[in-house]
Symmetry: D2
Subunit: 147 residues, 4 copies
């Protein structure tokens, strides 16, 4: 059984609501971020790469990869618990596997568990047009008390 | 694209060879460990639980979960590079998500990358008969120079 | 400011109480484990190495390193919150840095934070008689509700 | 033995060289980043916080914390191996321990190991004026072949 086979909890929000939320909450974020797939337990986030995301040699920077992973997991968690701005990352562990270079970065996030106090997920990053993943992250969010 | 969809490199060894190798290399290991599934990029390791694997309350111990993850990833790497006893774990990061209790522990390991110097994989652990994962690990092996 | 300079919360238990507790709770554990140093925020755990801890080539096994780190952090947390068997590891991330070989393994654990719901610590492992660390871990414990 | 007590390899570069390098290599980086302490095996990086580093509630964002950790470790590695732009992060694991809020963020980075192929370090983050750490990271850099 792999991550994609895990039983998935139901969605509470749709992609448009998530995009509106992140644009309102983080006005300095790149407005070109898009949720291009959303299903129970799964979310894809798409980020066009701009010059500020690059380090020398046209390599997409590590912070860009970590930020997109964290944002993808944040939106995936919110999609399952509702708009809780106070959900905060408590752990992020990322393996950088290949040099990332390309015009668009994709993050596929999958929920491993949503509990009362925490949510844990996995994120796989790749460049659009290439199946080989450039990085993989495991991310934990601490959740606020809910009704 | 999730882990199970990743392009997979070809296998060099079969399950029986892997089991024989680990029994010869680690004679103190539990001989009941079995490779119950093996495909390009994927391996399942099955471990019957004994009293030495438990902590108070019949909970399968953290070290048991970490050890099975590490062993599953070791065998999966060897299956793709050949019998290289000098492959060594360089990083293991594990999220413990639920209390683990049951008679048999299963580890599903998937390769994210096999490079020249490193291999990275993901391992999902669960108890036989229950789909909810109890723990998830990301593991890196450092590989010896190869021909 | 490095880990050793962090402000430290007060101790609630002494080394003997911790050793008695772990021997009673984990009767299958190696009885030779000893808490050889304990101060606010700091604990050293000492483990004589036996044949069951070794992999081929007289290398101390990865599971031995992970288990000692986890146990050292468990005892350090209990020393600061009292005997709470229900404190459980929620995350362990370990970097294996050098081959470990020797008669005695030492784990120096330091608390980074004890909160209401979690405790986070760092563990540095080395072989007695050699200052170069063989592995380093960051460990999170989930804490049960307390009075 | 804690991280601050580890034997330290000699420095090859000084703080000014490191600051010049990062400003030339990353012209989009905040020019206010400063190396305020440098000794064998240790480096402190100081970052004044601007509005782009904040998320709602005046909280310093997770990506800001991860980026500063990664940059501090990069400069610490270069200080010990020379100006090798091709050193790249291979793993970063971060525990977020407290809400971070304040005018200046400090990263204290310590080397755990510099080998031929990898360097491993630990980074502790806090807000200037408060001793309690807000986050802790363990970071691995893959090193290019060197003479």
């Amino acid at each position: 059984m792999f991550i994609a086979d895990l039983p998935a909890p139901p969605l509470l929000l749709d992609a448009e609501t998530l995009e509106d939320f992140i644009r309102a909450a983080f006005p300095e974020h790149d407005v070109s971020l898009a949720v291009t797939a959303l299903a129970p337990g799964r979310l894809r986030l798409r980020q066009p790469i701009a010059s500020g995301h690059l380090r020398p040699g046209e390599t997409i920077s590590g912070p860009t990869l970590m930020t997109l992973s964290d944002t993808a997991m944040y939106l995936l968690v919110l999609a399952h618990i509702g708009l809780e701005p106070m959900a905060v990352t408590s752990h992020l562990s990322m393996d950088f596997m290949r040099r990332a270079s390309g015009a668009v970065l994709l993050a596929d996030a999958a929920l491993l568990r949503v509990g009362r106090r925490n949510a844990v997920g996995h994120v796989l990053l790749r460049v659009e047009g290439d199946d080989a993943p450039v990085a993989a992250a495991q991310v934990t969010y601490a959740l606020p008390p809910r009704a």
